[in-house]
């Protein structure tokens, strides 16, 4: 049984994992880079090991250093979180070789799902619908033209090793094919060291809906329903919710069954996510499998009533699943808002810096997962995600109202952030009506970039406050004697006589 877990990550997810470990009575080990000595995960852990310089390649991506910290600390398991080494097959393998439990799937499952073509073929064999497209990688321009003629325009050219929108090119006209192919290959080669690409039908106005699954070492697989992740900006998710406002219970059942089939086909163990792309007629296609915990896992935790990190640890310990499919239900509704350190007024430029003040919302239905504290520094080296607000309500409408209330209470100063932008999303008609696709942000740009008007007297209050703060500062900066002079003529003459002596 696992007794001590090294968390090979930082930020909110490292703290979140350690919280569950602490509840289970497990010891926690943090690793940290130069930039993170004072980070929350170091403060929260029982032990902490320095693993290198600030850039991720020299620390959080450094397998040797992390394994040596694990060995030195006597950790019997490593939780990789998300990002960094979480989907690195080599890391999973190396942990195995050192006799340390990797809390996640086998190297084989990671590799298989990491290669988009292999994953696609595996899914087709398992009867899981995939986006219409080529069965394998594209070898030549002719191959591409032939394939595109078969499936019809528009199509998407995608890197086999891809992710995060890199090595992807949309083709809407036949004349664009060759150029797009060249661009996708070159970007894929630079980003992943592999220029293999394949071609899929381009789904217009799609939804991005994923299913959470859990699979134990005994062949049991369950799904924990879906998450709707269509509110994205540049392939970056911003808001997720569950249940999806567009799914019917019939579709949900079907997709759940396919998610389980997909997981079984991958011989998968642990927590994972099957991502589907869904068109407006609710046709759905396997997109990819994320072989790790997702950023947005808390909305599933809230609605289904599980602690996914504890489930991961139980699975790693070889326990059979704690649930049967038929006992799981979606209770109410949950929304997650991702709070990023970025400046929406300046093309969402990242905004590292020092947090001067933070007020987090609380009360009924509110959960906040974060890692920043007053005085903490958000480094330039890592992800701009600084907190996640997870809100539960009995209905979708109540959840939206509550999320707005929570966003109003949420205040982070010192670093620019997207809190007001999130509030605008929660006010947008398309969002409120549950009528949105991955194009939502673009289509609502104008509305989303507006500010609530604060009112005339409100603006005057701002003027007055800044002015009085300024006067107080001037007052403080003035030497004591000077203040006395200004305020009190009696004192003045007294001071003068002293000076005369």
């Amino acid at each position: 049984m696992i007794k001590k877990i090294l968390v090979a990550n930082r930020g909110e997810i490292a703290v979140r994992i350690m919280r569950s470990c602490r509840e289970m009575g497990l010891k926690t080990v943090a690793v940290y880079s130069d930039a993170d000595r004072k980070a929350m995960h170091v403060i929260y852990a029982d032990e902490a090991y320095h693993i290198g310089a600030s850039p991720s390649v020299e620390s959080y991506l450094n397998i040797d250093k992390i394994l040596s910290a694990a060995i030195q600390s006597g950790a019997d398991a490593i939780h990789p979180g998300y990002g960094f080494l979480s989907e690195n097959a080599l890391f999973s393998d190396r942990c195995n070789q050192e006799g340390i439990i990797f809390i996640g799937p086998s190297a084989h499952a990671i590799s298989m799902m990491g290669d988009k073509i292999t994953a696609r073929n595996t899914m087709m064999a398992a009867g899981v619908p995939v986006v219409p497209g080529a069965v394998g990688k594209i070898e030549s321009d002719e191959d591409a033209i032939k394939t595109i003629r078969e499936i019809g325009l528009p199509v998407m050219i995608k890197a086999s090793a891809g992710g995060g929108g890199k090595g992807m090119r949309l083709v809407t006209q036949a004349k664009e094919i060759k150029g797009a192919l060249r661009a996708a290959r070159s970007e894929a080669a630079t980003a992943f060291g592999d220029d293999s690409v394949f071609i899929e039908k381009y789904i217009q106005s799609p939804h991005h809906i994923e299913f959470q699954i859990l699979a134990d070492k005994h062949g049991n697989v369950i799904h924990l329903f879906e998450r709707e992740c269509s509110v994205q900006r540049r392939h970056q998710k911003i808001i997720e919710e569950t249940p999806s406002p567009i799914l019917t219970s019939v579709k949900r059942y079907e997709m759940g069954q396919h998610a389980i089939a997909a997981t079984k086909a991958a011989n998968y163990e642990g927590a994972g996510t099957i991502e589907f792309i869904v068109d407006k007629d609710l046709n759905y296609y396997f997109l990819e499998m994320n072989t790790r915990l997702q950023v947005e896992h808390p909305i599933t935790e809230r609605v289904v009533g599980v602690d996914l990190v504890k489930e991961q640890i139980d699975i790693a310990n070889g326990k059979p699943l704690n649930f049967k499919q038929e006992n799981l239900r979606q209770n109410g509704h949950a929304i997650e808002c991702r709070v990023y350190a970025e400046d929406p007024d300046n093309s969402f430029m990242p905004a590292p810096g020092i947090v001067t003040h933070i007020s987090t919302p609380s009360g009924v239905g509110i959960r906040v997962d974060g890692y920043i504290y007053e005085g903490s520094e958000i480094p330039i080296y890592y992800d701009p995600l600084i907190a996640k607000l997870i809100v539960w309500g009995r209905t979708r409408a109540e959840t939206i109202e509550r999320t707005r209330r929570a966003l109003q209470e949420f205040r982070i100063t010192g670093v620019k952030n997207n809190l007001k932008f999130l509030e605008r999303i929660l006010l947008a008609d398309d969002f409120v009506n549950g009528n949105y696709t991955t194009h939502f942000i673009d289509q609502n740009k104008e509305f989303l970039m507006q500010e609530d008007h604060c009112g005339d007297s409100c603006e005057d209050m701002v003027i007055i406050t800044a002015f009085l703060e300024y006067l107080d500062k001037i007052e403080k900066a003035t030497p004591k004697g000077m203040t006395a002079l200004k305020n009190n003529w009696k004192d003045y003459s007294r001071v003068r006589s002293v000076l005369k002596l």
Partner: protein, 175 residues
């Protein structure tokens, strides 16, 4: 003594009429406000005006006269204008161009790539330098044609916000 306070695009005249403890009488553009004004934290104020409750948080800017102010709904940039500020403003009027020939880091980050060499002539819109912060790369371009007069940083270097990266001189003047 009346002051001018700039908030976003508005310039308001502000005069403190009296202040005793948390009772403040103050005029903004001639409109008098009788306020219950209390500090409830560093830079955080609770204001009651005709029983309406306002909360304003002010954060010092780059100079003692600049503030960023937050209400529950909006963010404001506030400048206090006094005699000194006015003098400086007048003195530098018409010289706004001055800053345009330097590229300054708007955020802290790491220099990924410098795409020009010293003394090189550049076009308006040409990418000069790439800065990376939080997994995102930003390109910075020349605003007008010119000559690279100085490069103040090297690739891989960590830079602070407002740090000068590259200085571009007017090419015509010096050619």
């Amino acid at each position: 003594m009346p002051y001018e306070v700039k908030v976003n695009k508005r310039t308001a005249n502000v005069e403190l009429l009296s202040r005793e403890g948390h009772h403040v009488l103050i005029a903004v553009d001639g409109k008098e406000y009788n306020l219950d004004f209390e500090m409830v934290g560093k830079g955080k104020y609770s204001i009651l005006h005709n029983n309406k409750s306002f909360n304003v948080e002010v954060i010092p800017g780059h100079t003692i006269k600049q503030y960023v102010a937050h209400t529950s709904k909006s963010t404001f940039h506030v400048d206090i204008v006094d005699a000194e500020s006015k003098y400086l403003e007048n003195r530098f009027k018409g010289q706004e161009d001055e800053g345009e020939s330097t590229i300054v880091a708007p955020i802290p980050g790491r220099v990924v790539k410098i795409l020009v060499n010293k003394d090189e002539l550049v076009e308006a819109g040409q990418t000069i330098i790439i800065i990376s912060a939080m997994k995102m790369e930003s390109e910075f371009k020349a605003k007008k044609p010119g000559r690279i007069a100085d490069i103040k940083v090297v690739e891989g270097q960590t830079v602070d916000a407002r740090q000068v990266l590259v200085i571009i001189e007017d090419a015509i003047e010096h050619s």
